[in-house]
């Protein structure tokens, strides 16, 4: 990817992660890895966010919260599953209170595995997410034109 059409604003939500991936998400945005080099800005407001970073798996209690945040985000939007728990449930896949990966709740565009996910692969996933975001934006535009 040579050119990103915008700086991706990200929102992070901790599903039922062990914190390992959460602190790696934050570390990605901090000086050591400096995700801001790629224009990544962290926001707490779903309505401002382009990319949804979810860590941890979903369960009965948080599935509604994950869906709610996703629904509040404005199209086009991208979901990145951060860490193996968010991808598939990981080591906790057979726990009684774990439904599974985030894709059991909302559509996931990019999977970033790892336990904990490494900041390098997170940056990679976000950059990949920007590409998907651009494609989705183009598709939306085309659909609008076609509709009129």
């Amino acid at each position: 990817m040579g050119y990103a059409s915008k700086s991706p604003w990200v929102i992070h939500y901790d599903g039922s992660s062990c914190n390992g991936c959460d602190i790696e998400v934050l570390a990605t945005l901090c000086p050591g890895f400096d995700g801001e080099r790629f224009g990544v800005v962290n926001t707490g407001n779903p309505k401002h966010a382009d990319i949804f970073l979810v860590t941890g798996s979903v369960n009965e209690q948080n599935i509604a919260v994950v869906k709610e945040i996703y629904d509040q985000m404005v199209e086009p939007k991208v979901v990145v599953a951060c860490g193996i728990c968010a991808c598939t449930g990981g080591v906790f896949h057979d726990c009684y209170n774990v439904i599974g990966g985030v894709d059991k709740a909302i559509p996931v565009d990019v999977y970033a595995p790892g336990c904990a996910v490494r900041p390098e692969s997170l940056i990679d996933a976000i950059v990949e997410g920007v590409k998907v975001l651009d494609e989705k934006a183009a598709a939306l535009k085309a659909a609008k034109k076609g509709g009129r």
């Binding site: 992070h12 939500y13 901790d14 599903g15 039922s16 992660s17 062990c18 914190n19 390992g20 991936c21 959460d22 602190i23 790696e24 934050l26 570390a27 901090c30 000086p31 050591g32 707490g44 407001n45 779903p46 941890g56 798996s57 369960n59 209690q61 948080n62 919260v65 945040i69 080591v91 906790f92 057979d94 726990c95 009684y96 209170n97 774990v98 336990c115 904990a116 490494r118």
Partner: protein, 362 residues
């Protein structure tokens, strides 16, 4: 007095990296009551002892929480070793404590950053996390992992730290000291920070004892309780260990206690590195815990005392594994500290107990 209103706080909230929900009952700008609601991170991992044997479960135990991962694997291993009567080599005990103290430094730096972020000092947050990366570099060099280390096993440790690596670690810690000193000076003397922390959310000694608070949260209220002072394992070989206390019990005291604990941990590591015995780093562990055997253990995590209990049933699987984590001990204290505070101070007070929800809910 105005009418009571309920303000929901969380589970998704900008100051919280973790999901915790509070119903805050406010009158005008004052919080009169608060009801925590948890359960967003519950996985039910204690039950996994039924499907993972006692050697495999250590990898589950360290994923109770990614911040205190090292501590949980250590606490679990010690409990199982007691259950099975395993004697761990001295060198392994030293290495375990060195990694554990390193993870205390990383945890406190992480927390200082989050606290700075809570009072709107974002560059301080970045500086704390920049220093923390140096500790994570040590983890990565010595164990291969940054947050989940997987270095403790039942019977000892999986990797050694050789003399060259050890002197590198000491040099890194020595190098951090001056940067850290500058951060600490700002945190403890800057007037804008003091405005947000001094006298806020104070808890007296009697309340702290009555509410069974643990860790730096309790020590800031002058409760002299630190599991490390029991002198078990390598802690027993320290020339002197005094818990760091403060008697103000407010947010400022909590910041101060944690700030000083980082320096204390650096000293502990330096002392143990100098005394490091030679020898094996693990003993082979065979067999299974006996039917009905029980063991319990406490450990000083970065957030306070953590209790572990295990019971065997004669097979490779444990019959029961139970932990009681510091944050679940401290939630009552947090709810008390919140009562009567200003709505604007809620963030700060919640953060100064250093809540770890994924530990609490497991």
């Amino acid at each position: 007095m105005g009418k009571a209103t309920v303000i929901p706080f969380g589970p998704q909230h900008p100051v919280l990296p973790e999901p915790l929900h509070l119903d805050l009952v406010v009158e005008d700008e004052t919080v009169v009551d608060c009801m925590p609601q948890i359960g967003f991170v519950h996985r039910g991992l204690e039950k996994l002892v039924e499907t993972r044997d006692y050697n495999q479960f250590i990898y589950i135990a360290e994923r109770i929480c990614g911040i205190c991962a090292m501590g949980h694997s250590l606490g679990y291993a010690e409990t199982v070793e007691e259950l099975m009567g395993v004697e761990v080599p001295k060198r392994a005990e030293y290495l375990r404590v060195i990694w554990h103290e390193l993870s205390r430094i990383h945890s406190h730096l992480l927390w200082l950053g989050l606290a700075a972020d809570a009072f709107g000092f974002e560059s301080m947050f970045m500086h704390c996390w920049r220093l923390r990366e140096r500790i994570l570099d040590i983890f990565e060099k010595t164990t291969g992992g940054r947050v989940i280390l997987s270095v403790v096993k039942v019977g000892g440790v999986a990797r050694d730290i050789d003399a060259g690596q050890m002197s590198e670690i000491l040099a890194t810690l020595e190098g951090i000291k001056s940067d850290y000193g500058a951060l600490m000076r700002t945190l403890l003397t800057d007037s804008s920070i003091k405005n947000r922390t001094v006298g806020v959310g104070a808890i007296g000694y009697d309340d702290a004892v009555a509410l069974s608070m643990v860790g730096p949260f309790a020590r800031a209220s002058a409760v002299n309780y630190d599991v490390r002072s029991f002198g078990r394992g390598a802690y027993g070989d320290l020339a002197d260990f005094q818990p760091i206390l403060d008697n103000q019990g407010d947010c400022y005291a909590r910041v101060k206690v944690r700030c000083l604990e980082v320096l204390q941990s650096i000293d502990i590591i330096a002392e143990l590195a100098a005394k490091m015995p030679a020898g094996d780093i693990a003993v082979p562990v065979k067999g299974s815990p006996a039917d009905g055997a029980q063991a319990s253990n406490v450990l000083e995590q970065p957030r306070g005392e953590c209790y572990y209990y295990a019971r065997g049933n004669g097979t490779k699987h444990l019959d029961r594994m139970r932990m009681r984590t510091p944050t679940s001990q401290n939630l009552a204290g947090m709810a008390t500290a919140l009562k009567g505070c200003d709505l604007a101070d809620v963030n700060m007070i919640i953060l100064t107990i250093d809540p770890c929800i994924s530990c609490t809910e497991r």
